[in-house]
């Protein structure tokens, strides 16, 4: 294995670890910082905040994104909010409680030390964003407002209408723009990373392709930071943007970076249901809607075809309130999603295809007035009406779970450095903080924590020992990587088959959604593992990628991404098959309590599964598993209960 597989968790009491670590981390003096070139791939909340913060510190940063502007990174689509342990509501919140809720929400499959640090810096994120001019919602007295979110009994979520991700991203984009103007950050939009370059065992550069001109380029740096988001689009339909992909992290994996817990994929409970084959993406309705909306289906199958208004109160099953009385409609995402699947599997789903449940605001409108509901969620009702043509104030919304976020990602240590020295991975692209299930409003928190407050301390600790070690981009390792990239592009263009990219990607997605989605079992996963290589083979034989590599060619960009998804899907299923327990979003049907809840096996699986690529020679050699045991010194492992 390349590099080292040690979590490097600092010694000392949980609440002192980060402080101690910062106190002893090596520093780079201000005059030396400009001698270092840092490559940041991705410009969302994690990458954008990291690039801006490193630029502010005086490093020379090159930041790459596939979008035409860093302001369009997919963090922008996050709706509901960002958590922080400010305890502004005086309702008993604390750093410990945010830490505990996150560990428990993740079903005890994340590292205590990382999660504690996340909770610890959460308050500073809000301070930072307010200072940048993020227009968070406020109370009449002028102080910041909060709302509640799933998996918590305190109100700690800060928000900017239903556009929190947009406002946080624009805050970090503005900080990035300031650094671009100052000359510390050089921005490369519409540029995709296609390979990682390793020199003497350290990550020292990347190979990119300009999506605009097709130009392949090599960039050398002193460290490489991947902030390339999640891989939800492996399922074809997800709430991710069309361009979201696994390419950067998967190609780093093929260069020796360990991929951790790929089977931890989050299915969000409140999305607009799927309506047909033509559909290119699914749209999320913020989980914050569950604060005021009540989820129900008819008690009897026969009522499903009726209009909801014709179904009297006594014939409705408010199943979340019934099954989880203390959390009710605010049960965590994995639990709410499975509960929706369950009632639909029983034949009690509503809408076309019977794959939907009602999210009903009638009671809240009666209690608070339509105006109040409109103030809270107005834009979400508009989105719903645009897509479905229905008015959510008058008839209950129909929702169904959809792939939304991926907790798995490249393995990193406490410093957010992968096993390859010099390769840092932040935000959704790493595996680190959310365990087997992420709580709502925690993705924005993690992305910004990593970029503003963790990486600026842990990256110098690595760089301090790397003065003068940046190779030239003409080194042999770069040429090899470039040849590899060119070869792959040519191979895609040469297939010249008769079948469309989308048709194969869609097929892969349906296969995964069916067998490796909200519920998984051994037989289904084995069957899928048999089918993925066939699909991959068909791709390389039958797909048609028009045009050439020398200009703007959207089919070619997508083809490279789909090719990587077709390999990555196998890793995802292997992980799901090997993790023979249920935990959080990973629900193995063989392992459930008598009430149908996820049943963990802490004795055998309280560990991170980190996979090492073993090569690909026609077929993919099974990857090698490394296990990182998770130690719980502070929290007591319990069966999650939201009843």
């Amino acid at each position: 294995m390349t590099g080292s597989f040690n979590a490097n968790i600092p010694h000392g009491a949980l609440d002192r670890k980060w402080t101690n670590h910062k106190d002893h981390a090596r520093l780079v003096n201000p005059n030396n910082r400009r001698k270092f070139e840092i490559i940041v791939v991705g410009s969302g909340l994690a990458g954008g905040s990291a690039a801006a913060s490193l630029g502010e510190l005086g490093y020379r940063v090159k930041c790459f994104c596939y979008q035409d502007s860093p302001r369009r990174a997919h963090s922008i689509a996050a709706q509901g909010g960002i958590n922080a342990a400010k305890n502004y509501q005086n309702d008993g919140d604390s750093i410990y409680r945010l830490f505990y809720d996150t560990i428990k929400g993740g079903d005890f499959r994340s590292r205590e030390a990382n999660v504690y640090r996340l909770a610890e810096v959460s308050g500073h994120i809000i301070d930072q964003c307010v200072a940048q001019g993020v227009p968070f919602a406020r109370e009449y007295g002028g102080l910041l407002a909060n709302r509640s979110f799933g998996g918590a009994q305190v109100s700690r979520t800060f928000y900017a209408r239903g556009q929190t991700g947009q406002q946080l991203l624009l805050g970090c984009y503005s900080a990035l723009c300031r650094q671009i103007a100052a000359g510390t950050v050089q921005m490369f939009p519409q540029t995709e990373m296609l390979d990682l370059v390793i020199v003497d065992g350290h990550a020292k550069g990347i190979v990119t392709r300009s999506l605009r001109t097709g130009k392949i380029e090599k960039f050398a740096g002193d460290a490489v930071v991947l902030a390339t988001g999640g891989y939800g689009n492996v399922f074809y339909l997800s709430t991710n943007a069309r361009g979201c992909n696994v390419t950067a992290t998967y190609r780093a994996y093929k260069k020796g970076a360990l991929f951790a817990n790929p089977c931890f994929t989050q299915i969000h409970p409140t999305c607009i249901p799927h309506s047909g084959d033509y559909q290119s993406k699914l749209t999320l309705m913020s989980e914050s809607l569950r604060n005021d909306g009540r989820v129900w289906v008819p008690k009897r199958k026969d009522d499903c075809a009726k209009s909801p208004g014709e179904i009297p109160e006594k014939d409705r099953d408010y199943y979340l309130e019934r099954k989880y009385p203390s959390y009710g409609n605010l049960a965590p995402r994995d639990i709410s999603s499975r509960a929706a699947k369950e009632v639909c599997d029983e034949g009690r789903g509503v809408g076309p295809g019977g794959r939907g449940v009602y999210l009903d605001f009638a009671d809240a409108i009666k209690r608070l007035s339509q105006q109040t509901i409109a103030e809270r969620y107005g834009n979400l009702f508009e989105v719903y009406e645009k897509i479905t043509g229905e008015n959510g104030y008058e008839v209950p919304m129909r929702i169904y779970p959809a792939v939304h976020y991926t907790m798995g990602g490249l393995w990193v240590d406490y410093n957010l450095m992968s096993n390859i020295p010099g390769l840092f991975v932040i935000g959704e692209a790493n595996f680190s903080d959310h365990g087997a299930n992420r709580l709502g409003a925690s993705a924005l928190m993690q992305g910004l924590a990593d970029g503003y407050f963790v990486l600026p301390y842990t990256l110098p600790n690595y760089l301090a020992g790397q003065v003068g070690r940046r190779p030239s981009a003409d080194a042999a390792e770069f040429k090899d990587a470039e040849n590899n990239v060119r070869g792959k592009i040519q191979k895609l263009l040469n297939i010249n088959g008769h079948c469309s990219l989308d048709s194969i990607h869609r097929e892969l997605g349906m296969l995964l959604w069916d067998k490796c989605g909200m519920a998984r079992n051994k037989a289904g996963l084995e069957e899928t593992l048999g089918k993925i290589p066939e699909l991959r083979e068909r791709f390389w034989r039958e797909v048609r990628v028009p045009g050439d590599g020398e200009d703007f060619n959207q089919s070619l960009e997508r083809a490279g991404r789909v090719a990587d998804f077709l390999e990555f899907a196998e890793l995802l299923c292997i992980d799901a098959l090997t993790r023979d327990e249920s935990c959080g979003a990973h629900f193995r049907e063989e392992h459930q309590t008598s009430e149908g809840e996820a049943l963990r096996d802490d004795d055998n699986y309280a560990s991170v599964f980190a996979w090492e690529f073993q090569g690909c020679n026609g077929t993919i050699t099974p990857p090698k598993l490394h296990r990182e045991a998770l130690h719980f010194d502070t929290v007591h492992l319990t069966q999650r209960s939201y009843k």
Partner: protein, 251 residues
């Protein structure tokens, strides 16, 4: 549903383009305009032809990537909303739909329906930020901000940066875009220290990029997917005058 399309095809920035006719039969009414283009593209690829290049990403109206004029209107007829939020059920069966890129001199065409809007990034780089270094921020609740001011600031901050305002404007002005950013930050106390410098820098950058000036036609407001009010342009003008008065007074 069945449609006839007239789509702008242009090989690259140097070539001249033209409208090309396509048939789009059997389109589900629930499909979005972009999904309709996906279907047409899939058919083109299978027929051995070059697909139509167009930009999109989030496909839920927030990232601002899509940049299509539909039947002469930026983002099409269903306002407010981006082109990705335009659904085929809003058209008549058999209708002819003309799809063009945003037409603005400062947004050069890259290919077909794809334009280069980096000019908007450069306007923001010229001052559209608050200089708040990570780590230097005071406690978030130490500066109370009246809800009305914060809400108004949010109204302006909602801009998705798509550039439809400039595409709809007969003068190809980016005033609404610039006004939104200037107003968002000028309405907050945190934005006060750089208030004058910001507006002057951004307005000069806007002019340098070749955007035109505002003559109050309000086309920008009419097509804005984020419903940014044109009254922010008045705010921009006030901010600009204020900054110049302060400067000429030697402040």
């Amino acid at each position: 549903m069945n449609f006839k399309l007239k789509v702008w095809r242009q090989k690259d920035g140097q070539s001249t383009g033209s409208l090309v006719d396509y048939e789009a039969p059997e389109i589900p009414p629930q499909a979005s305009l972009l999904e309709m283009l996906d279907i047409v593209n899939e058919r083109l690829v299978l027929a051995g032809k070059d697909p139509i290049a167009f930009d999109s990403d989030c496909r839920e109206g927030i990232c601002g990537t899509c940049s299509l004029s539909v039947n002469g209107e930026a983002h099409g007829p269903d306002h407010p909303g981006a082109a990705c939020e335009l659904y085929m059920r809003k058209f008549k069966d058999g209708q002819t739909i003309v799809i063009e890129p945003f037409r603005v001199k400062s947004f050069p065409i890259v290919k077909d329906l794809v334009v280069d809007r980096s000019a908007l990034d450069r306007i923001v780089q010229a001052g559209g930020f608050i200089s708040a270094r990570a780590g230097s921020a005071p406690e978030a609740n130490s500066i109370p901000i009246a809800k009305t001011e914060a809400d108004l600031s949010m109204e302006a901050a909602a801009c998705i940066g798509c550039g439809a305002c400039a595409a709809a404007c007969p003068n190809a002005s980016a005033m609404l875009f610039t006004a939104a950013k200037v107003s968002h930050l000028a309405l907050l106390p945190q934005g006060a220290p750089e208030r004058a410098k910001r507006v002057v820098g951004m307005v000069h950058a806007m002019d340098a990029e070749g955007f035109g000036n505002c003559t109050n036609t309000y086309e920008c407001e009419a097509v804005c997917p984020a419903e940014i009010s044109a009254s922010f342009i008045a705010k921009l003008n006030r901010e600009f005058s204020r900054a110049n008065v302060k400067r000429s007074a030697g402040e």
